[in-house]
Symmetry: C2
Subunit: 329 residues, 2 copies
DNA sequence: CTTTAGCACTCTTTTTGCTTAACTGCTATA
DNA sequence: TATAGCAGTTAAGCAAAAAGAGTGCTAAAG
């Protein structure tokens, strides 16, 4: 069991370390606790016994352990209010409601990265409940058309369609009509299947140059499946923190930020705001990740902040929460 | 004047240094030049006198100066053929012609970054000769519509339009008709002006709730001007090179990569492939930038590779050239 | 006139020992 | 239970020493 004084001590040490990035000595806390350094040392030793504090070497001050941060986040930290400045900077983004959702999210997370000096990550994809509402085909020249697909949720994708030579406009028109008729209402991830098993047979019968035409449209439409977009911003911000003063560490972390396959893995399915401290995440032991899932109008994904383990957890949580709430509206 | 042997020596030193990243000593070149180290030292001293070589300290081997690299690039280096592997990796991208141009460029530059370990940058924008060919408005729900604008060059942009409450569908329809009629053929960068001075007066007369409706569309359509998209990929690749083993240097370079306003500045207007060595670019004295302008179908921009000054200039040039040629087609 | 051998000199890099300052743990005492 | 005091540990900074890699210069040889 942890006493009230120990709790207060842990809180002070965590917050002091977050601020200064230096191990906290017993002497430094005397005034605040109105007792001698020896007393503090005794309490520190207890907290170390519980695994909540660590020393960097035998005679160093104390630093929170992963378990210590976890205890702080779960049991000590209180929900924080955003400062006026934070709200002002972010409010601009969401008041401009002609921005497409994904742009608004990216921009706001960019700002959060600037405000906090942490790295912002946004993963997005069109969710599976997007069904095709409208297909528009616009001819550009004899061989090229732009196909635009709009879903019932307002998601838009466009593709080039390259029409082989020697095909009559009539035939192209007929194929478009066939596709249009059969594809409305189909979910994005089923488009390839529907083209192959429903559209193709019809085209085969009704159109002369069926093979070439079908292929042209299949190429364009076969990849509407769930592609995850990846945005990583403010990697250099993170490296300003003093714990990243080692070249190999920097390289290893940056390598991960550059690897979009790896980044896609930080996807979060939980609707709450989750914190992954040190070894709890896959990026680096000195790093914490705070993230949450979002869904709105057929777009879903994850927003995440990557900071040092010495992250201002309360503020980071408040910022993510603010953005999440604004996405919801 | 520079003798043939000096030219060959410079070539050997540059290429050796590019390979090993270590100052080249006179002894190391004895075998290749079939003479003693003292002879090499004499020639090296001449080249240093010409400003083509440098020493890192009094008793070190030689390293090319910026001027030396420049001489190498301009007068010694020969155009290089791409390896089969390079061609194979890149060919896949361009054979898939349903990819929208900007995606094809981004993907191929990503691959180039992987192949070379340099950082790839792609700047793109819709060029000024894009004129609106079609406006499509798709209702999503009572208050929200998606407006899609397609230009004669095949460029597509979409925006949310939020319709205020209490406006009849008829009025919305009429506004869309007015906009559609007046906006076709207008260049993207003139849209805001045309809306304000040609569309607004007509709407004011013809529609009841003109103010609110006009604003809704103006918000959505006013920013079609030239926005430059920015892609930076493979920053961590670059940092693998041994010259970037200093934390402050890494931070300074990464800071610039993160600053999209700065990155936009590396825009190149020259149609040829240009090399900016060391102090000739704004990123870092140890860095070279090789880049070129591209234009195709209403999209224009810059593709660039950022590498150490010890860059394999020949290969980098060949890769950029390959992509440029494939964009052209 | 060009090339070479030889040698003194310079500068970097690595290792080592030393000193100082910042802490802690422990023990004895209030 | 809290405190004062002291011995012990470690990091960090600094200077000196030793080793290694190259150069420039001079004088002699081709």
């Amino acid at each position: 069991m942890i006493t009230d004084r120990q709790k207060k001590l842990l809180k002070t040490i965590v917050e002091n370390y977050i601020k200064t990035a230096r191990p906290v000595s017993s002497k430094a806390l005397c005034k605040r606790f109105k007792c001698s350094s020896a007393t503090i040392r005794n309490e520190m030793a207890s907290l170390e016994g519980l695994g909540l504090l660590q020393k960097t070497h035998t005679s160093s001050g104390r630093v929170p352990s992963d378990k210590g941060y976890r205890y702080y986040v779960d049991n000590i930290m209180k929900p924080e209010e955003l400062s006026d400045e934070d709200v002002m900077r972010l409010g601009q983004i969401f008041s401009n409601n002609s921005l497409v959702l994904s742009d608004a999210i990216s921009k706001s997370m960019e700002i959060v990265s600037e405000l906090t000096n942490y790295t912002a990550i946004v993963l997005g994809r069109s969710s599976d409940d997007n069904r095709i509402a409208k297909v528009e085909v616009v001819p550009i020249d004899n061989n090229k058309m732009i196909a635009i697909v709009i879903t019932d949720k307002g998601h838009v994708e466009n593709r080039n369609v390259t029409i082989p030579d020697n095909i009559s406009k009539d035939e192209v028109k007929r194929v478009i009509e066939i596709i249009d008729k059969l594809i409305i209402g189909v979910s994005l991830s089923d488009v390839a299947k529907v083209l192959e098993f429903e559209v193709k047979p019809v085209i085969d019968k009704a159109v002369k140059q069926h093979e070439a035409l079908y292929n042209a449209f299949y190429n364009a439409f076969s990849d509407f499946g769930p592609k995850q977009s990846v945005m990583v911003r403010g990697t250099s911000n993170l490296l300003k923190e003093p714990e990243f003063d080692d070249v190999d560490k920097i390289r290893s972390i940056l390598n991960k930020f550059d690897d979009h396959d790896f980044i896609r893995n930080i996807k979060e399915d939980d609707d709450g705001i989750k914190v992954y401290i040190g070894s709890e995440n896959q990026i680096d032991d000195d790093i914490s990740v705070i993230k949450t899932y979002f869904y709105k109008d057929g777009e879903e994904g994850t927003i995440a902040l990557v900071g040092p383990k010495r992250m201002e957890y309360g503020r980071a949580e408040a910022l993510l929460n603010y953005i999440k709430e604004n996405i919801g509206r």
